[in-house]
Amino acid sequence: QDPEIILQVTDNHGHHHLLGTHTERHFRSFVRDYGKEYPTREEYVRRLGIFAENLVRAAEHQALDPTAVHGITPFSDLSAEEFEAMYLGVRGGGGGAQLANGVRGTAEEMEVEG
């Protein structure tokens, strides 16, 4: 193997078809509005691809969540995995059980009727 040869292993090239499209115009507005900067052209294209996927995802969320408004947000250039890694941070919440860390159970119930 020649160490000088760097192989493309991601699918960046698959997003080139988005260049010059209506989606890219949206993406440019997004980049301008949120002051986004990408170090290389390849990264720009990659983020454009994720942005396009997130537009589809926002439409899906809108269908599933009709009383809210879903669309372009500051996180529209992040994959779901990147978003979770960068902006979410509760660990150990998968069981649904309340972790008490030494305190005795749960607060007493209060009167809530009337």
Partner: protein, 230 residues
């Protein structure tokens, strides 16, 4: 219980903060509930330090030893309360400012502005959550944030949202009885939730989530603190 309630109107909530690209939501949720409890106890709203928790808190849950606080890699609010009780308090934001990166612990007990003496989980019944909110101040909450990446506004009430995959820490500050629905599919009661992604996200930094259905697991990880007044 009042039909609607909002701790922001009563001055118990600091401005919306920005956690940056750091999984420290648990720290913001923790400081939010302590800021509220301290306000109710003293009448003073202090802006407390998340960075102290990010840098210094490595507490693990007493039962689940794998659930440990780990700076920008995540944590739990109940672990943070335990740390603060043991450490002797929490500094103000000005004395221990947020950087969004984990660094060496620089906590100085002499600069502690608020001391935590106890904490508790809150029952999962949403009327109970409302009662504890009204009586004890803003509550730390964990929820499934899957719909929050694309949320812009309105009342979020997804048809499907996993209740068991709680992955984000936020602050419950109030509730409303009739949420605005842009598609006019009906008004509905909702929770007012403070987030830590800045004011340019959501409803000026807040998330409105429908109330009464345990939506996105918001009722499964609710906690409150008691602070010490000198």
């Amino acid at each position: 219980l009042p039909e609607s309630f909002d701790w922001r109107e009563k001055g118990a909530v600091t401005e919306v903060k920005i956690q940056g690209t750091c999984g420290s939501c648990w720290a913001f949720s923790t400081t939010g509930t302590i800021e509220g409890a301290n306000y109710i106890a003293t009448g003073k709203l202090l802006n407390l330090s998340e960075q102290q928790l990010v840098d210094c808190d490595h507490t693990c849950d007493a039962k689940d030893k794998t659930a440990c606080n780990n700076g920008c890699s995540g944590g739990l609010m109940t672990n943070a309360y335990k740390y603060l009780i043991d450490a002797g308090g929490i500094e103000e934001e000005d004395s221990y400012p947020y950087t969004g990166k984990r660094g060496d612990c620089k906590f100085n007990p002499e600069k502690a502005a608020v001391k935590v003496v106890n904490f508790t989980n809150v029952p999962i019944d949403e009327k109970q959550i409302a009662a504890h909110l009204v009586h004890h101040g803003p509550l730390a909450v964990g929820l499934n944030a899957v719909f929050m990446q694309t949320y812009i506004g309105g009342v979020s009430c997804p048809l499907i949202c996993g209740k068991r995959w709680v992955n984000h820490g936020v602050l419950l500050v109030g509730y409303g009885s009739k949420g605005f629905s842009i598609l006019r599919l009906g008004n509905q009661p909702y929770w007012i939730i403070k987030n830590s992604w800045g004011q340019r996200w959501g409803e000026h930094g807040y998330y409105h989530l429908c109330r009464g259905r345990g939506m996105c697991g918001m009722n499964t990880m609710v906690s409150a603190v008691m602070t010490q007044t000198s």
